[in-house]
Symmetry: C2
Subunit: 465 residues, 2 copies
């Protein structure tokens, strides 16, 4: 698929459509749009466009479809698989002006919102009404809801509440030819033809551009309790995770963290956090609910499991400040790893009880190939983020030989009936590994779906497959 580079004529069209302020051409101004949070990658778009309405998006796509200009939709650029990188140049379609919460429907526990709204802004707005939007990626303070839809983002609370997918009722989508559809209805159930809503979620901007979304809300749980349990053995911590659920626990977060993760976060954030020498891993576990007695009972059950798996201690966060302290550390790990080192982040996920095998395997593969990893993540749903650190490895090893190690990690995921991305998506950086997960005829099927939506392939080319 080859694309036309936008020329002067095209820029005139875009400028007439959006106004000069929303058509960015200046190299320096393009720079922020050449990156996302993925490694140290950089791909410049030729033009950044900032539409404000569905009609703007429709006009842009219709035009680019006719002209064969590549269009890469962009949220806040916090993605970890390079999904928002304009790897084929062309247009970076920034959704930053779609920043309005249009309607909080308290009667139906729904919200109508634009894709450029920041995740946490939505959470806070609905919280004021006693309502809850659970998906909470680590980047919640800056990521856009549109990006969350692109990858079906999760976060710590996914273990109890599911990922973004589970909260999307209906989407307004502009297709590649500029036509507009609503993918579903604003209902809790939907069996009305192929489920285009679920097909759009996780499609990483390759099938259409979401311009409005209807999201499901639930009542806000009144309380949370937070436990931190250090373990001498990381393997025991992993084993404890499925033990919690088998004992009847239903935590609202169940996070695994290697000590190095907390150490890096504490350093970057200038927070003091003492890590005893004998600690091999932590579990950070949250319980939520409305009835304190029931929650305490659940914490007791969980504590018992943790001690059964040789936890060194089980610490309760007593105050809201303490809870926020631990969460801030936890959320900081990804950025801190990047801050400290060049790294690649793999988003491995396996059935929950296979986590010990995954963790042990990752360490064994790293030792064999000679690379260091920091592992952390959403252990409760078997989702382990594996940060591979460059340290003083040669560029050649990093850019070439390392791949074999990554391949072995992903093959292990597959062997354990897991997959290579739980919540970050495939985007640019993981597409080379897709053949590990599926045969050529399955990739061809995905390309067939893509072609049905976007015959000219203008939308986010160079991604997924």
């Amino acid at each position: 698929m080859s694309f036309k580079k936008p020329d002067e004529q095209d820029v005139i069209y875009f400028t007439q459509l959006l106004g000069e302020a929303y058509v960015i051409l200046d190299k320096e101004a393009l720079t922020p749009y050449s990156k996302d949070y993925t490694e140290d990658l950089s791909f410049y778009p030729d033009v950044v466009l900032k539409p404000a309405t569905t009609q703007d998006v429709s006009a842009i796509l219709s035009y680019c479809n006719t002209q064969h200009i590549a269009v890469t939709p962009r949220g806040a650029g916090t993605g970890l698989s390079g999904g928002a990188l304009p790897v084929k140049g062309g247009i970076s379609l920034s959704m930053e002006r779609f920043n309005k919460i249009l309607k909080i429907d308290e009667r139906n526990f729904q919200v109508i919102v634009e894709p450029g709204v920041i995740n946490e802004a939505l959470q806070n707005a609905v919280k004021e009404k006693g309502l809850f939007y659970p998906p909470d990626p680590a980047s919640k303070g800056s990521c856009f809801l549109g990006g969350n839809i692109a990858h079906s983002s999760g976060g710590p609370r996914a273990v109890k509440y599911g990922t973004t997918r589970d909260y999307v009722l209906n989407l307004e989508v502009v297709l590649a030819d500029g036509s507009i559809i609503e993918t579903g209805a604003n209902t809790l159930k939907y069996s009305t033809g192929y489920n285009l809503t679920h097909l759009m979620v996780g499609s990483e901007g390759t099938l259409g551009v979401v311009t409005q979304m209807v999201l499901k809300l639930i009542p806000m749980p009144k309380n949370t309790l937070l436990l931190l349990a250090p373990f001498a053995s990381a393997e025991n911590a992993c084993e404890a995770v499925s033990g919690i659920f088998r004992a009847g626990g239903n935590p609202s977060a169940c996070e695994f963290v290697e000590p190095e993760g907390f150490r890096l976060a504490a350093n970057m954030l200038n927070m003091s956090f003492e890590i005893a020498e004998n600690v091999g891993a932590y579990l950070l576990i949250e319980v939520d609910g409305n009835d304190s007695e029931v929650m305490m009972k659940e914490c007791e059950i969980i504590s018992e499991v943790l001690y059964n798996f040789q936890a060194l201690d089980v610490l309760f966060a007593e105050t809201a400040a303490q809870k926020e302290y631990f969460w801030k550390l936890r959320r900081g790990i990804g950025e801190a790893t990047k801050h400290n080192n060049t790294y690649k982040e793999e988003d491995t996920v396996v059935p929950r009880a296979e986590l010990p095998k995954l963790f042990t395997g990752v360490k064994e593969i790293g030792a064999r190939h000679g690379f260091r990893t920091v592992c952390y993540g959403h252990a409760g749903d078997g989702n382990l983020h594996v940060n591979i650190l460059k340290d003083d490895l040669s560029d050649e090893f990093w850019n070439k030989d390392l791949n074999q190690g990554i391949i072995e990690i992903f093959e292990l995921c597959k062997e354990l009936k897991g997959t290579i991305s739980g919540e970050h998506g495939i985007g640019y950086v993981q597409q080379q590994f897709m053949p590990i997960m599926m045969p050529p005829h399955q990739l061809a099927l995905m390309r067939g779906i893509k072609a049905a939506f976007d015959p000219n392939g203008i939308l986010n080319p160079g991604k997924i497959f």
Copy 2:
């Protein structure tokens, strides 16, 4: 799309593949395969095939794809939209021999199961291990899990636990050309390319044939409580529904029933059930959980809401037998309506708080066009089954003029941001109404997806669009 009628040569191939016992040609033996539970429709297949393995299905589809023979996959035939009717003749592909529960994975709360297993058989098998498979269509005692996937079937418990879709982790699917894929991984999260699992769910056998499935389980709640509340005003009952959720209730079922529904079911089942003359509607509400005190508190909150909306009474089912008594009545309504009368069942769904408008509208439309309806269903998720009764209406009205009334009901659904099927699917009978819900370019998009999976259109032709 025109199809070849299977000839002698084809039958020889099928017989060699499956054995004579599993290739049905005899007209009388074909009769059960000419129907499902939809109205009084009947379409005969030319041949019924009963494969037993994925390889059988692969060989059949590969052969039929080359020969352009239509193949209609069939579960237990309990569908309500004619999805399993071989409207273009050809093969009825009965999945009845795929009847094994292959593995209950207690460590990961998952089950690997074949599509011909009966819903309730799975529920019972996992219950023995303390695990819970929530989706519970009224036909749970006879419907197949494969059919549940075809339409993303719901049932009373969907209001708290979601529909079939929410429990499908991974599917083994045979595509139209005989090739085999796994749609996902056995994980709680998945962001690895287009979500083919969610695309298959609800696709009504038009994209592939499911031969194995991995389903998510959850811990079995220890107790249930059941309330029955009669209301003088059906509108008040509808209004109470969203009131329950706004007050913090989270019932595991919240069913609306018009008295005529219970009356018909009681008659058919020979059960005594006294209905006071002033009753306009019932709400049947279940609460589940592990802590009796918490559950009682929730029932008190719900009762208060019910009385606030002028419930005449709130009756508690005291014993397991009483609970089963009410549920048996509730589940019997669909069949009883059919038993008693010719009827059409519409599967309307709207946002929960719009239920009063939907109910009032349905009654108004019926009065204006001169037809009688019995309404009941899963009020908690805004899903109202509207059974239209033929009574002594003329065949001409029934087959022609009635359509205008149905169109108005569906237009009302759309106006209320709902849709024309919440859980029964589009199948054969609702496809004519799809243009109400979506523009031609959206239907074309669905056909494009279909073509990517099944270029020759052999799979379940004449359905959805």
